[in-house]
Symmetry: C2
Subunit: 196 residues, 2 copies
């Protein structure tokens, strides 16, 4: 059991350095916030936008993700291993919103950074796994978390940021500066059977 013990220091470990979130200029985004909010001033003093921490296993991060799709029954050990793998690979910017009054994760989005040879060995960002607890409706949290990771992609030097989405979300993402490029906006998938 000693192997699965985590002390306070482990728990507060961030997936990426939080200081970069201080640098994001929300005036650069075409998104309109009313009232104006940002990653550093998310609108309520009990709210914080920050990188994923190990402690978030116990703050409902996976329960929030399960509102998006199936997550399975992920143990603390599995979570911890994936966290460690993401951190050592680099390029994973899982970003969350916490309600500090109740120590719960109420929003999340992931930016992944893909290394390329094209465009002078550039990097491309992708937006993944966006989810907001819908009991917090009206607080612009969806917009806040997506704009945060989109500005982060630019700050990290991406030449573009990409996402796949359902028809009903097109207008939302357009309002944040994303475009369907004419003749070049098809997302296709091949699904593999789960190993039995």
């Amino acid at each position: 059991m000693g192997m699965e013990k985590y002390n306070e220091d482990d728990n507060s470990e961030y997936l990426y350095g939080p200081e970069i979130l201080q640098k994001l200029d929300f005036n650069k985004s075409p998104a309109k916030f009313n009232p104006p909010i940002s990653a550093t001033k998310p609108g309520e003093d009990w709210m914080v936008v920050r990188p994923l921490q190990r402690a978030d296993y116990n703050k409902g991060f996976l329960q929030l993700l399960s509102q998006l799709t199936s997550t399975g029954n992920i143990s603390r050990k599995q979570f911890d291993e994936r966290f460690t793998q993401m951190k050592s690979s680099g390029g994973y910017y899982v970003t969350v919103i916490e309600d500090k009054r109740i120590s719960k994760i109420i929003g999340a989005a992931t930016l992944t950074i893909e290394q390329k040879f094209i465009h002078n060995c550039s990097v491309r960002g992708r937006l993944e796994d966006v989810v907001v607890n819908d009991t917090y409706r009206g607080k612009q949290l969806g917009k806040l978390i997506v704009v945060t990771v989109s500005l982060l992609a630019e700050e990290l030097g991406c030449y573009k940021m990409s996402l796949d989405c359902k028809d009903k979300l097109i207008k939302f993402y357009e309002s944040l500066g994303y475009k369907l490029e004419p003749g070049n906006s098809n997302a296709m998938n091949m699904r593999f059977e789960e190993p039995s």
Copy 2:
């Protein structure tokens, strides 16, 4: 100049272990090859399908990529650094076809593996940067390289493999098993200005 010298051993270094390509079962793919070919039997004895090697800097790999989009003027040092970064991050499966008669790369596709928390800490594959030298038309090389990395994604345990494409390529990818999922097949992008 000593810093930029590469010996034969460095040059033959693979981005990922080539043995996994031996395991791919081309009968699992819905793609129809006529005549039948595969990664291990690409149809001509002067052709080989393999992981990217450092030597490919001198075998026209970047010139081939530049048929796809701008690559810029990438030095040997930049190429080598990106190769090293991809290898140490893990999850980058740049795969090429070489014409051994002339030591030239004539086809390439990249599989990237994205680590997830969802689906029980699963992994998702993405197809990127597919390009084939069009003077080799009729040899099914586009199909060959895409099916190779698609089977590789399944072999590596991905729950799905995704790609973005232009309208004119939809039929091609459908013939290889990719689908536009109704109501959920939009690829959107935000492009950032190059730093000046």
